[in-house]
């Protein structure tokens, strides 16, 4: 069961440039920047009301995010929904015939997270996150 939208993630070529753009557009400064080596990204969060806009920049050429950027260019990369129990949600989606990228939750920036394959969701990457 989806509780709320946690964040919308936008891939940019250059995080500093992207921050200048979106801080200017949204009228809010970012709250923090983090590197996530296992996903090959650097991410900055901008709080808008009760959700976040996340900007991500790939750090390595072989990451999924780098490939997305190369194929599609800058733009919305994924949305993240908060759930109570990420393992249960992933299992229930898989049981319903939806292809998931993670069979079980793993550690991510937004908590215990898992991804759903864009092939099953009309071309959009969906992240599910359980707050820990």
């Amino acid at each position: 069961m989806i509780k709320r939208l946690d964040h919308v993630s936008i891939v940019v070529r250059d995080l500093d440039e992207g921050l200048k753009t979106f801080e200017g557009l949204l009228g809010v400064k970012h709250s923090h920047i983090e590197e996530v080596p296992d996903q090959g990204i650097k991410a900055a969060m901008i709080q808008v009301g009760n959700v976040e806009v996340e900007l991500i920049q790939p750090l390595t050429a072989d990451s999924g995010v780098a490939k997305f950027l190369e194929n599609k260019g800058e733009g919305i990369h994924h949305v993240c929904f908060e759930v109570d129990d990420v393992d249960k949600e992933l299992q229930s989606l898989a049981d319903g015939g939806i292809q998931v990228l993670d069979k079980q939750g793993r550690k991510g920036l937004a908590g215990k997270i898992g991804f759903v394959h864009p092939k099953s969701t009309k071309g959009v990457l969906i992240e599910l996150a359980q707050k820990v």
């Binding site: 939208l5 979106f22 808008v48 733009g75 919305i76």
Partner: protein, 141 residues
């Protein structure tokens, strides 16, 4: 000022199938109105706390004046994310602020928005000035 996210828009080629899929993923159905016929496009909005999810299917060809941009995007990039809506408290003030800051604003003028009682005045920030993201500015009316 911008007060929150309004919706994230997903472009699809078959909205009826997409509504069924997203009802099951999100665990919630679309607004009562279901699939709404609008100029150049069919749309459905799923209420999600924090930021709604919008599905859009162009109903016109790429050459059409209204909706042609979405048809071209679908032809070029396929299904996927197509825009991000944000709520503003004062559309005129916000478009003036963004123009001043160098953003390219597309302002279609007054627009009778989406659904009963959910009228909105809107303008757009061109994706070329927002890292590839088409941003819709919505003021509740």
């Amino acid at each position: 000022m911008i007060t929150g996210l309004s919706f994230v828009g997903i472009l699809v080629s078959d909205i009826e199938a997409a509504v069924e899929l997203y009802s099951s993923i999100l665990g919630v159905g679309p607004w009562e109105a279901g699939v709404m016929e609008m100029p150049g496009v069919k749309a459905a909005m799923f209420p999600v706390e924090g930021c709604s999810v919008e599905l859009l299917q162009p109903t016109v060809g790429p050459e059409a004046e209204v909706g042609g941009d979405l048809a071209r995007l679908l032809a070029k990039r396929g299904e996927g994310f197509c825009r991000l809506g944000v709520w503003v408290d004062d559309l005129n003030a916000e478009t003036a602020r963004l123009r001043e800051a160098g953003f390219r604003i597309v302002d279609p003028g007054d627009y009778a928005g989406f659904g009963e009682g959910m009228g909105a005045r809107m303008a757009f920030v061109h994706p070329k000035s927002a890292s590839g993201v088409l941003v819709e500015l919505d003021q509740r009316t």
